[in-house]
């Protein structure tokens, strides 16, 4: 692989940009791999990358039904933060956030990580107490957050209306090293690095069945034929239930639509990410100037990547009250993704009832920020059979009643 660098740009500029290589190969599948990962989204590709980088397992295929990063990896609102209350969540999200800090250098691919700061507004007395508690918990967990005053909120984000009639801003939980990154680039960067290690990324190929012998996985049937494997990782987000059924077990997962939208581009007006959880909306400004807006998930089972208009209306109504400046913005694009929600809204990184099959799912509305940490933990679990980061996220916790007691997904009241 030719490394990207300032020198490479100069070299290519001098020869009409004819020397750029394809970022990853599109090989025909081999008959057998040590590990097959189903799903070439951020989490699947990160799993493959850390299998190779941390554990030396490089005979790996990543099989993708559609195109690489075309699911939720390319549909989220790109927010990165780790200000969680419970220790297992804070640990894995902070691992992810800290990996994001140097991911561009690690992958030799600019993922445009922008630690611009994330603030979560407290707009009720209950939220003030909740976020102060989280700030104390974060101090113990080694996650840098602080509870800030309304005046500081206004300083950091002048377009906020802190004296709103219904929901005045009473303070905020501020994580200065949170921020955003280019979501597609995260998938592309991991894919390029995986391909460089000799892994096969097989797009436009659906896994239609899972073959087992004596309670152990031996391979998968795909639209390009049978492929054998030693271990299988299922990392398919919204379609986790469908894949689990093909593998012969069930998951505590329901799939629902989550929507997001962006406005027409405008001049820079906010350089932080703001989440307003009481009114259920969050917003940041992309480098292109678009206001990126997200809200709550729809309430019913859905596989269509289409959501309901009234949820978007609720989100936009709430944000217009908090940011009056956006009231006359035109919206440019509006889309949905299918998110996998677990019973306690926390993820699953786990062994399964089938020997050799591992599952990484249930990230719900909060998966993007976790990608490096999730891949790190999943790779360790698949390579060694045990991962400290993944320990509490076992799928057996529902039977044992060991829930992770917070709405990890978005920090939004579900």
């Amino acid at each position: 692989m030719r490394r990207y660098s300032a020198f490479a740009i100069a070299r290519e500029a001098a020869r009409h940009h004819l020397g750029w290589e394809r970022a990853w190969r599109s090989p025909t599948p081999k008959a057998h791999y040590d590990v097959i990962i189903v799903g070439a989204g951020g989490h699947g590709l990160a799993t493959a990358y850390y299998l190779g980088k941390n554990h030396g397992i490089r005979n790996v295929a990543v099989i993708e039904k559609g195109w690489l990063g075309g699911g939720n990896t390319g549909r989220n609102t790109t927010i990165i933060r780790s200000n969680y209350l419970q220790d297992p969540s804070a640990a894995i999200y902070e691992k992810a956030r800290s990996l994001y800090e140097t991911l561009s250098q690690d992958l030799n691919y600019n993922i445009m990580f922008s630690p611009r700061g994330v603030m979560m507004l407290a707009q009720t007395q209950h939220e003030i107490r909740g976020y102060q508690r989280t700030a104390h918990a974060n101090a113990l967990q080694g996650v840098a957050t602080e509870f800030i005053s309304p005046r500081r909120v206004k300083e950091l984000c002048p377009i906020i209306n802190i004296d709103g009639p219904r929901y005045p801003v009473l303070g905020a939980l501020w994580q200065a090293r949170g921020g955003t990154a280019r979501h597609d680039a995260v998938a592309w960067g991991y894919a390029r690095a995986c391909s460089d290690m000799g892994m096969d990324i097989i797009q436009q190929t659906e896994v239609t069945g899972v073959r087992r012998e004596g309670g152990r996985v031996v391979g998968v049937d795909t639209t390009k034929g049978y492929i054998g494997c030693g271990k299988l990782g299922i990392v398919v987000a919204g379609h986790s239930g469908v894949m689990a059924e093909r593998a012969g077990f069930r998951l505590p997962i329901e799939s629902v639509a989550l929507q997001a939208l962006v406005s027409e581009p405008i001049k820079p007006v906010m350089d932080v990410v703001v989440m307003a959880n009481t009114v259920h909306g969050y917003m940041s400004q992309s480098d292109k100037g678009e206001m990126v807006i997200g809200g709550g998930a729809d309430g019913f089972n859905n596989y269509t990547q289409r959501g309901s208009f009234h949820h978007v209306e609720e989100t936009v109504r709430a944000l217009v009250e908090t940011f009056p400046i956006i009231s006359r913005l035109k919206m440019l694009r509006w889309w949905g993704g299918i998110v996998d929600m677990t019973g306690d809204r926390s993820p699953i990184i786990s062994k399964t009832p089938v020997e050799g099959i591992f599952v990484n799912c249930g990230w719900g509305t909060g998966g993007f920020k976790a990608i490096p940490g999730s891949g790190w933990a999943m790779a360790e679990l698949m390579a060694k059979g045990h991962s400290p980061l993944a320990e509490e996220f076992s799928m057996t916790r529902f039977r044992e009643g060991k829930f992770i007691d917070e709405s990890v997904a978005a920090g939004v009241a579900h």
């Binding site: 986790s240 998951l251 505590p252 208009f309």
Partner: protein, 106 residues
């Protein structure tokens, strides 16, 4: 936007008037059941991509819970029926079969 006809009050309501309540026809387990049975009842869901039976409440109308058959892959609604039953009635099954000949009630 989904629309359902409430089988109790007869009003055709859009989903803004309704509250979703998850999968219908769950087999309930009580005292004396095993951990596996409770896990199954409380958390495990087939999460079907296709024909799905589910609960809805006519929250902004008559307030009653009713059941509906809907395709989660197309958002097509096959019909609604009253909640006092443990399985979908024959006319709903027939309506689904007419549009999904390969489908079977498992």
């Amino acid at each position: 936007m989904l629309t359902f006809t409430c089988p109790y009050c007869g009003v055709t309501a859009c989903e803004a008037e309704l509250s979703p309540g998850g999968e219908a026809h769950l087999k309930r387990f009580g005292p004396g059941s095993t951990d596996e049975q409770f896990e199954d009842y409380l958390f495990l869901r087939p999460n079907v991509k296709g024909v799905h039976f589910e609960r809805w409440r006519h929250a902004m109308g008559c307030g009653k819970w009713f059941l509906a058959a809907r395709d989660t892959a197309t958002l097509e609604v096959f019909g609604t029926y009253k909640a006092q039953t443990t399985e979908p009635p024959a006319d709903i099954v027939a309506a689904i079969r007419a549009k999904r000949p390969d489908w079977s009630l498992t």
